[in-house]
Symmetry: C2
Subunit: 344 residues, 2 copies
């Protein structure tokens, strides 16, 4: 089946902007005006602090189009920014999207990317209020800025963790990293024999979904509020649990101590052990891209947190001099070291 | 003389962020917290609308490092975004900067880029509150988001021009385009004979400066306010006067008619005619990157506008059916056509 290909230059930059603007939905009463002026106008609800976060995704570094559908890429580019707003205990409301795109992409490809962007906007009720579209000499670059709000006294920063606080994490960890391993392996098989279709086992679909189409835990922001809980510190898990624990430790001047047996890694334990010879703990600690929330709360919230379905208490905050440690099932203690993303 | 070269991977992404954060100055009381959390926090002054604008600059498309000093590039990347806020009649207050940068750049190169970014922040009293730094497989990409404020009733959009309004422009036009012609010519000379140093004539330094180090007309926002003038429509001149006139015409459902003899092009008339065989009118209409403001005001502001030193009245708004025209000195009338930037 032939798919239609329209060249970008046939409609030009202004044509693309008109095309995007025509399909924009507005969900937020705070959006006064969006695409069509030199800047968007937002009426921030009184008493709210504006939260601004920005992330840039570059082809060949953050994504590989060999196995990343463009819709999923568009969706993910929004989600990773909304996750940053959620990590402040904020509610996202608007996004801007800037694209640098080479002419090897067709207009239909841009449409697919924006399909994904629109899906994410719809799912999270955020408004696409602006952006910039330009050509690129080589790869695709997507830069998103997200804007959200929260009352100042409800904002969770990285610096508020106190000794004695509980260390909590939402969802499960390491799955996005394992999904990436599977996709990379299938790509290699495909490169050796292009006739061979990538074989994605049913049992792997969860892991691959976690890599290709992550979600931002804005639901947890609402659930914490319903339980009257303001995290003393919070961060989202983009670079791996280890890296994020150390960020909170550094900025709160405390130590973070966690327990292997408490890590929410059951979704990947079997696969990691059998297929890839990767320790599930390593995947959770250094894998990254889970976009779950890591947060600390005072111990008096223990009961409320315990009842929250999708939250695991994985450790406890200690004084700075105690050291950042993971207590292994074997009884050993190991220092926490960040690998993070070594893009350079 | 050997210049020092430190590889980016020697200090890594977090090292770069720490380095940037350590040198940040805060000018705006509205900046509650900046770099160091998942998002920046901004306390918008009560009664103000938040203005958000974003632009992406890609190597090989928007700039050529063969003749663009990195400090100037950093400066310009901020200025073009502040210009968008000024074009809404707003006052810029914060910026975020995202970079995709390949490892052919050294840490010292990033420092130069940020020197320019910091200079712009200092000149305009805006705060660098966040961003993202990542590697790129090829060229340098800079994505900036600017945030500013204004009272809702003082915001100037593109859609408010009325028949009878005066069409005004700040500063002069076409110089940035002529500067680009000079730089491109000198680059070609240099490519033919690398021993030959580019020869920049004294009389060309103004034009080159307009290309390499433009300024945002935030001063005009203040001056308009002092004169009690709120433009009925406004836009900044990034793509050329013709393109911007048509944007206002379209969104205000009016026609824009201007006069060649009123165009502020005296700074380039002589050069354009003799050196490059480019009509100054063409440079002004289709050159772009002047980052001056094009605005319309009701006729009752004629006297006040006439007294403003750096503003030219170049035409008048007509009903939609009259047509977008430039009245040439020869007596001819020519339809206004946008070339804009054809990046694709």
């Amino acid at each position: 089946m032939e798919t239609k290909r329209t060249e970008i230059q046939d409609i030009g930059e202004f044509g693309i902007i008109d095309r995007i603007a025509a399909q924009v939905q507005v969900y937020q009463p705070s959006t006064i005006f969006g695409i069509g002026d030199d800047a968007a106008g937002i009426a921030v609800p009184p008493g709210q602090i504006v939260l601004v976060s920005t992330d840039l995704l570059a082809e060949g570094i953050h994504f590989d189009l060999a196995y990343t559908p463009l819709q999923h890429l568009g969706y993910k580019s929004i989600v990773v920014n909304l996750s940053d707003i959620a990590a402040m205990n904020g509610i996202p409301a608007q996004v801007t999207v800037s694209l640098a795109i080479s002419n090897r992409f067709s207009l239909e490809a841009i449409d697919l990317l924006y399909d994904g962007i629109r899906s994410a906007c719809e799912a999270y009720h955020v408004d696409l209020v602006g952006g910039d579209t330009t050509s690129s000499r080589s790869g695709l670059v997507i830069s998103v800025t997200a804007i959200g709000y929260q009352q100042e006294n409800l904002i969770a920063r990285r610096s508020g963790a106190k000794s004695g606080d509980l260390i909590c994490v939402t969802g499960d960890l390491g799955a996005a990293f394992m999904g990436l391993q599977i996709l990379t392996r299938e790509k290699k098989v495909f490169e050796v024999d292009p006739e061979m279709q990538p074989e994605i086992k049913e049992e792997h679909s969860y892991l691959i979904g976690r890599q290709l189409k992550p979600e931002a835990r804005t639901d947890m922001v609402h659930e914490l509020a319903e339980n009257g809980i303001v995290p003393s510190a919070m961060i989202d898990i983009s670079d791996g649990l280890a890296s994020e624990l150390l960020h909170i430790a550094k900025q709160s001047r405390v130590s973070m101590q966690i327990f292997e047996e408490k890590l929410p890694i059951e979704n990947l334990t079997k696969l990691a052990a059998s297929d890839f010879n990767i320790s599930p703990v390593t995947a959770a600690m250094n894998g990254g891209e889970d976009y779950e929330l890591l947060f600390t709360v005072p111990q008096n919230h223990y009961e409320a947190i315990s009842k929250m379905q999708d939250v695991s208490i994985i450790g406890v905050v200690k004084p700075k001099e105690s050291g950042n440690l993971i207590h292994l099932k074997s009884g050993q203690q190991v220092g926490i070291q960040a690998q993070g993303w070594k893009h350079f």
